[in-house]
């Protein structure tokens, strides 16, 4: 028995003595007995409170010890293996980005002089003859109807359905980030996201300008971007700078033909002299068959783009 319990027991016993005595007591003695019982009750009240708090401390101590065990529980399935799974998935994802970066289309800058008369027939012979032959014009007014008709007719090739879905899923996944950048500039999120997929392989660790890392200003052309702020840059700040740098900010017309025109201009109008629909827009659809720039200024009529076209993605987004 604890000291508190012993003291309490003695006090209760004292009360019993007083209660037994009370019936035979005089009124004066009864008053004294009642006062004594009240005093005893006060003392018991103190003891009860102290005892309860001591018990509470004991319970708390024991609870803390069990809590430590509960906190040590490993709830992740497979623990290290799950980490390894996630690591492998990330590695594969990175690898996929690298593969797609290799497939990125170089700028489609046509040779300074159009295909010479002597070489033109050879080019023409080598160039694919598709149902959709683009105009040689580079003027939006002249191309607007072509963009509209190509876009309406564009049908994704079945064999690329999985890859198109990959791009669309990633665009949807990162939509809020593209919207955050586009809202201040009046640019639709789809336009920004598709450029990010084509030029940056959805990598949020690099500049949208050219894929250089965000930890410093750009080194490759355009170099020294962003000109304001200090590295490391957020992807959003850098993307905003790149879109302004390219003159996309503040534009009012974001119709489908205008977006297609801006994307094609961004990559280059160099496919038009060869009569090839730009794979930058139409790859993975029945608009495009073969022909692509394999290096800056070097067009190969037999090479085939392995990158999903911007128009195809836009149409798949619905």
């Amino acid at each position: 028995m604890t000291t508190i319990a012993e003291a309490r027991s003695a006090l209760v016993e004292a009360t019993n003595v007083l209660v037994r005595r009370r019936p035979a007591a005089s009124s004066q003695e009864k008053q004294a007995i009642d006062d004594a019982i009240e005093d005893i009750n006060i003392k018991i009240g103190f003891l009860d409170q102290v005892g309860l708090l001591q018990a509470a401390v004991s319970v708390s101590d024991a609870a803390n010890e069990l809590q430590a065990i509960v906190a040590s529980a490993r709830l992740g399935p497979f623990d290290d293996t799950v980490k390894a799974l996630a690591g492998a998935a990330q590695k594969l994802f990175d690898l996929q980005g690298q593969i797609r970066a290799l497939e990125a289309l170089p700028p489609a800058v046509a040779p300074n002089s159009p295909p010479a008369a002597a070489t033109a027939p050879a080019m023409a012979a080598a160039a694919p003859v598709g149902a959709f032959k683009p105009s040689a014009s580079t003027n939006f007014a002249a191309l607007q109807q072509e963009y509209r008709s190509f876009y309406d007719a564009c049908t994704p090739r079945l064999e690329f359905r999985g890859q198109i879905a990959f791009f669309v899923n990633h665009l949807a996944k990162f939509r809020s980030r593209y919207e955050a950048v586009g809202q201040g500039l009046g640019i639709p999120w789809q336009f920004i996201g598709i450029i990010h997929g084509l030029e940056g392989s959805f990598n949020f660790g690099t500049h949208l300008h050219n894929g250089d890392p965000l930890t410093a200003r750009t080194v490759n052309a355009p170099a020294g971007m962003p000109k304001t702020g200090n590295p490391p840059f957020s992807w959003e700040d850098s993307a905003r700078d790149a879109l302004i740098h390219e003159g996309f900010g503040g534009q009012s017309d974001w119709s489908v033909p205008q977006m297609l025109f801006r994307w094609e201009s961004y990559n280059g109008m160099g496919y038009r002299p060869f009569g090839v629909p730009s794979p930058y827009l139409w790859s993975f659809s029945d608009i495009y068959d073969t022909g692509k720039y394999v290096a800056d200024g070097r067009f190969d009529p037999n090479a085939v783009s392995k990158q999903c076209g911007a128009a195809v993605m836009l149409k798949a987004l619905g």
Binding site: I42, V59, V70, L75
Partner: protein, 339 residues
């Protein structure tokens, strides 16, 4: 079971080829792990969980009443500690070593039997606050909650609820591998779905391996946690008499008041209230005993799986718990009706 813990490493930082090879290396490890699985003591865990729920169901309404009583008694003690005179005008003795000494706060008399505590003691805040619970009730409720967390963690692992997360990661991995292969030249696109299918076929083995990991963790938690859980149950049980004293303090005082001593028949309702609390506190103690027994059987099943209690005896115990739970509800209902 030492041979049942294969080191599994996917080689996350290696080139893709190496990573794929390590998948192949992983396969036999999965088979081994799956073969080693002996399963958790599901019935014992369920009985332990049921025993906890029943004890908690009995404990919570008791603690609701304790919170009210502890506050009320705390306020009375604070006034007595400040020196509020008794009916006869005597000033009670000051409790020694109290957190709130009389020098910090004294009873201010306003008139016969009226007054207030002139001063403020932070240690008494929990008794006077209209927010939160008084300290002891809070600690007891916290103790029951920790026991509940312990039970929840064990059940979570036994039911393999964490496998959903694993499935999501596998689906993501399968999809990523398929997409990577689709970009590779020469038949990669066709290989994508094939790899996805292969990963799908691996799922049951991976699940088995993951559940094996869960089972090992359950055993570790039971063996490491049981002494602490047992101690916590003991302490809660030890606290029961102290809870009873505070719960019945008001009725006990009334039962020995001058009016009751002059006419003992008037004390009957107070005595009945005290006895009703004796029943509810006793129920709580009995259910804590049941929880202790269920924990012992769980530990026994983990340590000696072959000699674990039979499913029939556990079913009997679960049936008893349901009867107890019903008795607890009736006793609490009787108390709330003034029984």
């Amino acid at each position: 079971m030492a041979g049942c813990h294969p080191e599994i490493n996917l080689g996350a930082n290696r080139p893709m080829g190496a990573a794929m090879k390590s998948w192949l290396a992983w396969f036999p490890a999965l088979l081994l792990v799956a073969a080693c699985s002996s399963g958790p003591p599901v019935e014992q865990l369920q009985t332990f969980s049921d025993a906890y729920r029943t004890a908690n169901d009995a404990g919570q309404p008791l603690l609701d009443n304790l919170a009210i009583a502890e506050k009320s008694e705390g306020q009375i003690n604070a006034a007595n500690q400040a020196g509020r005179p008794t009916r006869s005008g005597n000033v009670p003795d000051e409790a020694a070593d109290a957190a709130c000494p009389r020098s910090d706060q004294r009873w201010q008399e306003v008139g016969s039997g009226t007054g207030f505590i002139r001063g403020y003691c932070i240690s008494d805040a929990a008794y006077f606050a209209s927010l939160g619970e008084p300290p002891a009730t809070q600690a007891f409720r916290g103790g029951l909650a920790v026991l509940g967390k312990y039970v929840d963690v064990l059940i979570f692992l036994a039911e393999g609820r964490n496998l959903e997360e694993l499935h999501a990661q596998l689906d993501s991995l399968s999809s990523t591998i398929g997409q990577v292969l689709a970009f590779l030249p020469g038949g990669g696109a066709a290989a994508g779905p094939a790899i996805g299918g292969a990963l799908g076929a691996l799922k049951p083995l991976i699940d088995a391996a993951a559940q094996q990991g869960n089972d090992q963790e359950i055993k570790r938690l039971v063996i490491a946690g049981a002494p602490h859980a047992r101690q916590l149950i003991d302490r809660l049980r030890d606290a029961a008499p102290l809870m009873f004293n505070v719960l019945t303090a008001s009725a006990a005082r009334a039962a020995v008041s001058p009016a009751a001593l002059d006419n003992p028949a008037t004390a009957q309702s107070d005595i009945a209230r005290i006895e009703a609390y004796r029943v509810t506190v006793s129920n709580f103690v009995v259910l804590l005993n049941g929880l202790q027994t269920a924990l012992d059987k769980l530990v026994e099943a983990v340590q000696n799986p072959d000699q674990a209690a039979s499913v029939a005896s556990l079913a009997e115990e679960s049936a008893n718990l349901r009867i107890y739970a019903d008795a607890v509800r009736k006793a609490i209902a009787a108390l709330s009706q003034g029984g």
